[in-house]
């Protein structure tokens, strides 16, 4: 029988490291969401120069 090659095991995180990881994930999620929203708004602003000034 062939020996299975040793695979590296993922590190076990301490509660503090888990909390830091969550804080990074939340910040990254918020930044990516904000970035997508900003791209959307800027696209509208650049494509239609008077789109925000039209009479309602």
């Amino acid at each position: 029988m062939m020996n299975e090659p040793k695979r590296p095991t993922p590190p076990v995180l301490t509660p503090e490291q888990l909390a830091q990881q969550r804080s990074r994930s939340k910040a990254l999620g918020l930044i990516l969401g904000g970035f997508a929203l900003l791209f959307f708004i800027v696209t509208i602003a650049k494509l239609g120069s008077s789109v925000f000034n039209r009479p309602l």
Partner: protein
């Protein structure tokens, strides 16, 4: 004996789990420097002839801020050894062990490329190229080359801090002209007396870290002379916007009065050379120099907004 298949496994080194919080990564961007960059870039943008959509202007400022932050991050990556030695910087995320150098390098490079591309998409290629050059100038020319090599490090390197109003201006116009050059000149001439005042107080730190700041290499007396000379050039340079016509009456008065204040404090630094009085004089000049630059740019901004809102008689 090692199994033959082990040789086929890639020798991957798994980094340990990161102990950095989101706040640590934010600290890598040097938020205080970033706020000054945003402010001066905004003034450059506002003084530029022509119109920029407010949303696009906001996005451009964000790109400039992130670009400046990325440059700061690359600076912390390269200077981690110096930062660890100096008391002022020992608690930064890398020397404190919360962020690894590799993480900082990856973060800084990603943000550098992203901010330049974003500014190019939002405004124009010239402004994007200017931002890329500024990041390069700060991270490579200043941090990697000048800082550890010459006492003129912050004189030449100060250009990096002086470019943001030009980038803001270029974001609107796609070019540079005398107005943006004067804004650059004010910050460029302001930088040496500002930093050398601090360096007089933190001389021991710089000496310990082996950074050839002027007080370490040329001595305190020579530094005091240089501070006075640069301040005597700065005060009239600060009045240039009024002379050139893009600063109004309020700016003219404020720039003359605060310029005289800078000269007074520089003379005090020149005169008081020993003990607590010398330290206090240097810190007063350092503190006032921040207020001085802020006031000059703030008044330019307020005057421009007053013109835009037809309130010229009030300001």
């Amino acid at each position: 004996m090692a199994h033959a298949s082990d040789a086929l496994l890639p020798s991957v080194q798994i980094a340990g789990p990161s102990s950095a919080s989101a706040g640590d990564f934010f600290a890598l961007l040097k938020p205080r420097v970033m706020s000054l960059v945003v402010f001066t870039a905004l003034v450059g943008m506002m003084l530029a002839p022509g119109h920029i959509n407010p949303v696009v202007g906001f996005a451009a400022l964000l790109a400039i801020a992130v670009g400046a932050g990325a440059a700061g991050c690359l600076n912390m990556w390269y200077d981690a050894d110096i930062d660890a030695v100096m008391t002022r910087t020992a608690l930064r995320p890398i020397p404190a062990g919360r962020v690894s150098r590799d993480e900082a390098l990856a973060f800084g490079l990603t943000l550098s490329v992203g901010s330049v591309l974003f500014l190019g998409l939002m405004t124009n290629l010239f402004a994007a190229a200017f931002l890329a050059f500024t990041i390069f100038f700060y991270a490579v020319v200043y941090t990697m080359w000048l800082k550890r090599w010459t006492a003129q490090n912050i004189v030449i390197g100060g250009a990096a801090g002086a470019f943001p109003p030009m980038i803001g201006y270029a974001a609107v116009t796609g070019s540079v002209d005398i107005v943006s050059f004067i804004l650059f000149a004010i910050i460029f001439i302001w930088t040496p007396p500002h930093f050398w005042a601090l360096a007089l107080v933190k001389k021991g730190d710089y000496a310990k870290a082996g950074v050839p700041m002027l007080p370490v290499t040329a001595g305190e007396t020579a530094t005091r002379h240089q501070i006075l000379i640069y301040t005597l050039i700065l005060a009239p340079a600060g009045v240039l916007p009024a002379i050139m016509g893009f600063g109004g009456i309020a700016y003219a008065v404020l720039s003359v009065v605060s310029g005289l204040g800078m000269i007074l404090l520089a003379l005090r630094v020149h005169a008081r050379r020993e003990g607590e009085a010398a330290r206090k004089a240097a810190m007063q000049l350092f503190g006032f120099s921040i207020l001085y630059l802020f006031l000059l740019f703030a008044v330019l901004l307020v005057e421009k907004m007053a013109i835009m809102l037809n309130l010229e008689g009030i300001v």
